[in-house]
Symmetry: D2
Subunit: 379 residues, 4 copies
């Protein structure tokens, strides 16, 4: 069987999740090509070597450029902080590598656009890790919408709220240090926007606000020195989709109690759907025209009728977890690299998501509705 | 015991609910005054007489003016279609009667403002039937917020969605016949706005849109003749409260599957609340600072610790229903008429709610943020 | 319209709930006869007079015999402690009155049997207040079962758990003072058994145990003197229905956290139902043969398709509460007294429920399966 | 690092789940020893070779005896049908191998007892795959109970219901072919019993019934020929734990709609717990003594405070799935083989579970209470 040799940059939370996925994917799916954990890069040689031992990579390096330019490598897998994505990706494109990058792809829409444009020129496979899209229940939701089971879509109500920055003692991190719009709207907002686009389609215009609720944070954990926060920690905006329907979207990392409220309600002329990632194996479905006295939302649990659930488990009721989403994501990557199917969401899609975010930032600044195509024109 | 003599105008759904409440209230609460079902008015004498027999009124009339001017009447209770509210209320004020009116108070904010102004001059008791506010769980929510248990409020996410107009075969009714803004934003929007104001306080500005999703409806049930609908059936808007925090609000009567999604999530710096009228006896509460490993939302069920639940039932677990809210509302009315406490929400409050609605209408028309105090100035 | 004159004995929690129901029932339902609150009896004249004022009775008495023998009275309504039920009911039968009695009807099956036998001889209407049966959602459940929508019934899993006696400081009450079997199995067990019989039919045999978990309690609230408890506070038993299927039943008043877990899961060869009184307006329904990928439990909310919900509220989503069940119960009583329909559950049914309880007591004592018809034979 | 060489017998659903777990475990946990996928055995060489390629084993064999006697193998991992467990395990013990076996360990308690006795003599590590015990939320439940947070345990209400055999057209399988007691009580009953013992402790006696609801099944999928079913498909029993408290237990594979209702409610004198595997990342906790008006069940979601969740994911809200339980199970196995800690549940525990099942079978046959120690004495 053909081998696809992986070079992974970064061994943090996401780096490790990727490694686990590569190790598992071949046993779960029947693939035309097998991933090989070839090289891992970390901040220095020693850290890299430890990660290689832990995660099962053949080689280790303290220099990501070496990895990127290694002729043995087929796929450059980027799990570093976002600020580094651009340089690594450009170098990888120059070396003719396929690029798999954690979300968000870039610091701004302009940066994302540049990367998408380069990717388009080189023709390599690109993919961005919006893992929540890989939940089989989202494919089900999309199928329900596409089949017309809930009619024409008339409303999207989406949110991604967590609470990990609720405490004013949670220290600054790279996302807090940026300007208004570099915060939660980009971090968590991109997830709910990726679902909105996946399920309801392109967004035409937005109108919203960005708040900074916690105005000062310690410069580091436990430090008494506090720094002013300018980045947003709470975003709310109205959206209008190209298909005509509207919606509301929220993103927040200061909503006490919410651990993973990546949730939506989608309404159509004949029914509706409701989902929250906190119960990621369930989808609520209502369809009009039920027998009177028997109307109600149905709670559908993921089962072998919802591919690729069955690859993990042949029986219903055995739930998938977060790491399984990454296995599906890696499958999609490997298939695309092997010439079977298209990787998705790719850099182009990541740019489209970023455009919406930039439109929200502009809307907040100008207190007005902003068309998404304004973003394309000016940058 | 003192008697408070009621004149009820209208014997439809709400008229009957009021009558039930008057009959029940004395057995539930210890009151300083007893309501007497003195006169009921309906469209004609015969209908009124039947309603009087059914609901237990002493007398009946086909002429509401006669009721309003009857010296025996203390309280004029208006449950007619909204278009008639103004004239009846003005006549009642002229006769020096207390006025209890179903929501919405008026067709426009200007009309509501006029009524509120007149009420203020006459000094009578006024109350508007925003019955969902009377749920003891809302008093609990308000207490939790006021006590600081969830910290400073940072977000309000509210909705009132139903589905009774989802079908394009649902016929026109008086609300559909009006212009953009006379539809669901006023009908259901007023309920979620009443809760927003009750729990989070005055609203400073709004920005939103009104959609008309079903564009034609039969002129009557079963008719083939269809008429163009101009009124809104789906509203979405951003709000900014005077206390500084923001939020999103939706109102819709075309959300298939939603029978009574009058729901909110309120987040503060130290916790959050979540409620839906579909489970009207439950409130979800999260407070920060729980023991690690034991964090979670608590589901609180209404019980005798949440007055006036205990007046209905001395034990927990015995739920309240819709009609019980009306009994509490009527209690509040009777207490105010008897000089104990203040009726609330009164005409002034109804006007404040209507101002927000008018601001949304203006925002939709102008595609811009509108301050609530603009409404006051211009009309 | 014909009048039905009520004599109510007892003005506690249940007495008041009955009074509220009588006051409300005529406004909710179209009835061939109107209840008149004629006389109320309490422990003494003064208490009775206060209750009459509060609840709207014409007359009051400190002597229940006077009430029972009052020629003006049509229905004797008994809401006293259970120990008094027998004597009052027998006196009422002797006076030719209809009898409406709170549950449990009697202290033992033998006592219940005697009352049922006398009632049968006199031919008066009898009814016992198993109010939870009157929830429209139970009629829906029964209809679903009867129609074969879930196939042949194969399993019943029922419970009635509350927590009001969980604390060892909760004082003795009349139920605790009796022997093993006079406790929770009779008090709460009778409710879940009434549902089991209503939905699944007669029970053929039982095998179970009774526990006394809290072994001593204060003789009165706050007292330091403690008394040994012999009555059961936790019951568990297997049941076999006459139709062949089996089940498990629990009753407990010491299950910390449960405020009203009167709940069941009923499974058939083609589907299943699940209900809990804590969400009394919802029924979960699963039917086999759903489209693959769309299988799931449906949550049905009570609405006007589930009579008599529509008599309370013409629109879905407006929930019923505990007191509304009593209004339905009182409707059924009045209809039966007026010669329309049969009162149910009557004394005979209450005896049947008590027989099952006695069989459980015998099973606990003998550590064996007990057939229900053993109870009939020996007593 | 030390290597632990695995010989896996069987490449079906469970064989594959084990293989995935071995591949993943080193990247998730820091282990003192690394598993090596040395040999896989299947029904014939060709099937084995394909499985080896798919799952990543070095070698393949069509003869499990060869695998068991291979000097390179440290652990014999048995995922074959239950009927083969005994012979393979005995052969492995003879070869001095550690044995990891899927549940149920054996066909009867006697067989399990024999295996446990041999295991005790040889001193090797044994483990049985009751994977649901490895859910971090069960460790949390155990900790809550052990710490006294919910007081003395007074009730256990457990069930494991699924619906995969509900249809009378579901064909016979090996479990259906056996006598009464070889069916669901052993298959699914063992899971809920393993949880009961884990959380509440040893069981002293049982009393119950076994039903065969579907009485005939096709001999094979699609076949018209039907065979009589003697095995149980619905079990219900009362239990008494050694610590004194009682409970009810059900097991069924014919409960339409239930996909994985492995669920319990555990009540203590100061609180209670509720769990269902259908929402495997959530535990409901009620503790007495909450502030009045703020009482309620808390829904706790698994997070890094519940080890070893954090090894999979450093943030809350990222759920675990079924396969993750197997990774934890394999970790425990490898630690025990490496001399760190004790494997659990071992063959001894599997035997104890089987004893309870045998006691239920005897109780059903004799329609009486059966003490667990009767089983020990007679076999």
């Amino acid at each position: 069987m053909r081998e696809i040799r992986i070079g992974l940059i970064g061994a943090g939370f996401m780096g490790r999740a990727h490694a686990i996925a590569y190790r598992e994917v071949g046993a779960v799916f029947d693939l035309p090509a097998a991933p090989v954990l070839e090289v891992i890069a970390e901040i220095d040689q020693r850290t890299a070597a430890a990660a290689a031992r832990k995660l099962g990579f053949r080689r280790a390096t303290g220099d990501w450029r070496q990895l990127v330019n290694d002729p043995a490598i087929d796929v450059v897998d980027i799990t570093t902080p976002t600020a580094q994505h651009r340089e690594i990706a450009i170098t990888a494109f120059a070396a003719g590598k396929h690029v798999y990058c954690e979300k968000p792809l870039a610091m701004t829409a302009a940066e994302a656009r540049g990367l998408a444009a380069r990717a388009a020129k080189t023709g390599v496979v690109t993919m961005v890790g919006f893992n929540y899209l890989k939940n089989p229940i989202q494919a089900l939701a999309k199928e329900i919408i596409a089949s017309g089971e809930i009619g024409e879509i008339t409303d999207f109500r989406g949110i991604h709220a967590e609470d990990y920055m609720t405490s004013a003692d949670a220290p600054m991190h790279w996302r807090c240090g940026g300007p208004r719009g570099s915060g939660v709207v980009a971090d968590l907002g991109s997830h709910i926007l990726s679902l909105a686009r996946f399920l309801v389609g392109p967004i035409a215009s937005v109108c919203g606000t960005l708040d900074t609720i916690v105005k000062q944070r310690p410069v580091a954990r436990g430090s008494r020195r506090r720094q002013r926060v300018q980045a947003d920690d709470q975003a709310r905006f109205l959206v209008r989709f190209e298909r005509g329907c509207g919606g509301t979207v929220e993103a927040s990392w200061v909503q006490a109690g919410r651990k993973m409220q990546l949730a939506y309600e989608i309404t159509g002329t004949k029914g509706s759907l409701a989902f929250t990632q906190e119960r990621m194996n369930e989808l609520k479905l209502y369809t009009a025209g039920q027998k009177p006295g028997r109307e109600g939302y149905k709670t559908i649990a993921t089962d072998p009728n919802h591919p690729p659930y069955g690859a993990f488990c042949p029986a219903p009721g055995h739930q998938l977890g977060f790491n399984d989403m990454k296995v599906i994501e890696v499958r999609d990557l490997l298939l695309a690299v092997a010439g079977k199917g298209k990787a998705w969401p790719d850099f182009r899609e990541a740019w489209e998501i970023q455009r919406v975010i930039d439109a929200v930032i502009r809307s907040d600044a100008g207190r007005r509705w902003v068309r998404i195509d304004e973003i394309e024109r000016r940058k």
